[in-house]
């Protein structure tokens, strides 16, 4: 094992030495590492003084961990330059070929770049954080609790690994440093948004949620590393053709995959759709499991959290809530509120959103959206039961008629997203990453157009014209 790691270490150390000889990398890192904590310290003092005037000690207490997270983040963004140019920079300077000609395995080269890309930002980040903690300690401001501090350290590390692994993927797939730097916004902006969410969690002060954030960021990082290795091919790194954004080629590839040479709709279903559907079957089975878990989670969450709220709520509030639910089986009201195109558009948008979120997170966020939608079914059932209403009857009459089509449509949508995500992280020799993504998107489109849209259209019609009638018939009388 050591022999396998040694070449990786060799390349990393050479590059690290090279970095520390480059003032263009060093100068901003030193300024950010040493200068930013001072600035943040001054700002923290001002904020603490200001908040103390209003006795907002809780916000002061939560402000410090937030500052630590920010302090750790900034050096990572600057050091990202190193990771971004790891492969493409060497390609531009013409130094990549001797390295590719050397007896390294692909994973050794990839991890060497990942290691050197992560070491620098992490060193800078830890230094800046340490310096800041020393400063606030000397100012007499209370340090965060050790567990929180440990969480922040892990979170900073996870951020660094996430950003660096994404940057390495970009670097290995880009053809110029300029393009890689432009694509860096796809890293910095999502991570900045992610950090806004994490900042909310820090102010909320829920440790469990922070653990979940660490786990989530780590999972995405690992998936990114997997993607990077899966699509790292010496051949495409040297190829000239990958630097051309060939829209015609992209469309032709998509269309030939989507159409598959079929001459009629029937032939398309038999020869093109059916194989694509078969390919998604493992994902379908997995999403069936996820569906069960999600329904149970929604049910359990409402049972655990809402029952206490209902028990402590004033009786008139609870009564009003029940009234609202009882008013549901009013056909005139229902028909006024829902129409088929709206329902169809809404559900289609949800499936498309799942794909969009899934594309940028290797299906993780797409599946999360699916889980939230499905969890609502369990949650609503629990809510009805808690209010003492006939939940089973309401579901049989109000959900089942159209749900029998709508839920499978969402399920196939979730499965297709999972299939696309799994496909992206799976090595496919002889194909560029672009080819792989286009082929996967073509498969997704086959499922979407061939199966999901018809199901959603039928479900929307049933929900508009059939379900309300059944609901009134079953419960209204």
């Amino acid at each position: 094992m050591f022999n396998k790691l040694q070449p990786m270490w060799l390349v990393s150390m050479r590059e690290l030495r090279d970095q520390f000889r480059d003032w263009r990398v060093l100068a901003p890192m030193v300024v950010l590492t040493l200068g930013f904590p001072f600035l943040m310290n001054v700002f923290a003092n001002q904020t603490v003084d200001f908040l103390n005037q209003f006795g907002a000690s809780l916000i002061v207490e939560r402000f410090v961990p937030f500052s630590v997270m920010i302090i750790g983040f900034f050096p990572i963004t600057v050091s990202l330059v190193v990771a971004l140019e790891s492969f493409v920079g060497e390609k531009e300077r013409g130094t990549i070929e001797p390295l590719l000609n050397a007896p390294f395995d692909d994973w050794q080269l990839y991890f060497a770049k990942l290691l050197v890309g992560a070491i620098t930002p992490l060193i800078a980040s830890y230094l800046a954080t340490g310096l800041y903690l020393v400063m606030i300690h000397r100012e007499g401001i209370a340090l965060p609790a050790p567990v929180l501090l440990f969480q922040l350290l892990l979170l900073t590390t996870a951020h660094a690994v996430l950003m660096v692994s994404a940057a390495i993927v970009i670097s290995a797939q880009s053809t110029s440093v300029k393009a890689a730097n432009l694509l860096a916004s796809f890293i910095v902006i999502p991570v900045a948004i992610l950090m806004q969410g994490e900042a909310v969690m820090l102010f909320w002060g829920n440790e469990d949620v922070i653990w979940m954030a660490i786990a989530g960021v780590t999972i995405i990082s690992l998936l990114l590393i997997r993607v990077g290795i899966a699509h790292f091919q010496r051949e495409f790194l040297l190829g000239r053709e990958i630097d051309v954004l060939n829209l015609k080629w992209m469309w032709d590839t998509f269309w030939s995959n989507f159409r598959g040479g079929a001459q009629s709709v029937g032939a398309w279903y038999r020869k093109v759709f059916a194989p694509a559907f078969r390919r998604t079957l493992p994902a379908v089975f997995l999403v069936v499991l996820v569906t069960g878990v999600s329904v149970w989670m929604g049910y359990d969450w409402v049972q655990t959290n809402v029952s206490d709220v209902l028990a402590n709520a004033p009786a008139e509030e609870v009564e009003r809530l029940k009234e609202n639910f009882r008013e549901l089986p009013d056909l005139a009201v229902l028909r006024g509120q829902i129409n088929a195109p709206f329902l169809f558009f809404n559900n289609t948008r949800a499936v498309a959103l799942m794909l969009l979120a899934g594309l940028f997170s290797f299906s993780v966020l797409g599946i999360l959206i699916y889980m939230v939608n499905i969890a609502l079914i369990g949650g609503l059932y629990a809510m009805l039961a808690l209010l003492g209403m006939p939940a089973a009857e309401i579901y049989l009459a109000g959900v089942l008629p159209h749900g029998i089509l709508e839920i499978p449509a969402l399920l196939f949508g979730g499965a297709a997203v999972l299939y696309v995500g799994a496909g992206i992280v799976t090595p496919q020799v002889g194909k560029s990453m672009g080819e792989v993504v286009i082929e996967l998107l073509a498969d997704w489109a086959k499922i979407f157009i061939g199966l999901i849209l018809p199901l959603l259209a039928a479900a929307a019609l049933i929900e508009t014209y059939v379900t309300p009638g059944i609901l009134v018939w079953a419960l209204g009388g």
Partner: protein, 311 residues
């Protein structure tokens, strides 16, 4: 040491290399000649397991390039078109790094490094940053890197292109020495004089296909026909009664010279001399009409393009 069959590489709809068959034995130098973009670099990249062939196979140093890429890369030294030097390093650090990459022991690294730097005249500049080197020095260092692990197979792309005549001579001598010590070398070059001096075998590649390959003599014969010889006399001599042996054809006759085309010079030329001697011809010189590799190359390329710009 290097063998390929039907080696081909397709990039989308472009066939970069098409059905290349090569065989280079231990201690042989094969020169790969062709225009820019003819497929030389793609062929070399397939031989180093950097590119995966779309069709056919290649074995280098006994390893299949598709199945044993790691072993192929460990057995081959490559001088690429871009020298791939790290400008912030010095030559010592650079060779040390690659010595370690190829798993050489510390003592071996030191001796190889010092010897190569000494040989290529870089010892004095060894501690200077590579960024400060001249073009020629960089090329010599890149060549030293390719030779650092003493590989059995060397793939050299334009090894002397940026060098002054003295350095180029040094490199040519080293290539000749490597050949004599049983290394297998593929040389991509536009310097035809250099190729003529070094190569045992020559392959001319055009649009991904090998147009012609063989020894220089075979190429000359295939491209330019049978060799022609001029026989110069010390004074006027009547060649009217001369009967040439089988395999020789008289092309031109003057009072002081003859020009003949010969099928098998090894056998026929001594016979011609014998006949001339028996007839007391005052032979002053018997020499082959000069036919350079450049003529061969230009003729083949002209034929390939269907143009007639070659005289």
């Amino acid at each position: 040491m290097i063998e390929t069959h039907d080696l081909s590489k397709q990039f989308h709809d472009f066939m970069a290399v098409d059905g290349v068959d090569l065989s280079v034995k231990e201690g042989q130098i094969l020169a790969l000649l062709g225009q820019n973009g003819a497929g030389k670099t793609t062929t070399v990249r397939m031989l180093t397991a950097l590119l995966e062939p779309s069709r056919g196979w290649a074995r280098v140093a006994g390893y299949d390039v598709m199945k044993n890429g790691h072993d192929v890369r460990a057995s081959v030294g490559v001088l690429t078109e871009h020298h791939g030097l790290y400008m912030r390093m010095n030559a010592l650090e650079y060779l040390e790094f690659f010595g370690r990459v190829y798993g050489l022991s510390p003592s071996m690294r030191k001796s190889r490094r010092d010897n190569l730097l000494e040989y290529f005249g870089l010892a004095e500049a060894a501690k200077r940053r590579i960024g400060e080197y001249s073009k020629g020095m960089r090329q010599k260092l890149a060549l030293a890197r390719a030779m650092m692990h003493d590989p059995g197979v060397l793939l050299l792309d334009e090894p002397t292109s940026a060098m002054d005549p003295e350095s180029a001579r040094l490199v040519r001598d080293e290539i000749a020495r490597l050949k004599s010590s049983s290394r297998t070398i593929v040389l991509c070059s536009h310097n035809l004089t250099e190729v003529e001096a070094l190569a045992d075998m020559i392959a001319i590649i055009y649009r991904g296909r090998i147009l012609l390959q063989g020894t220089l003599e075979e190429l000359k014969q295939k491209a330019l026909g049978l060799p022609e010889y001029t026989i110069q006399f010390a004074g006027a001599w009547d060649a009217g009664r001369l009967e040439l042996p089988k395999g020789a054809e008289l092309l031109e006759k003057t009072a002081t010279s003859l020009k003949v085309r010969v099928e098998a010079p090894r056998e026929v030329n001594p016979q011609i001399l014998k006949i001339l001697s028996s007839q007391s011809a005052p032979v002053m010189a018997f020499q082959e009409e000069a036919r350079t590799l450049e003529q061969v190359y230009l003729k083949i390329m002209a034929d390939a393009k269907g143009s007639m710009y070659v005289q």
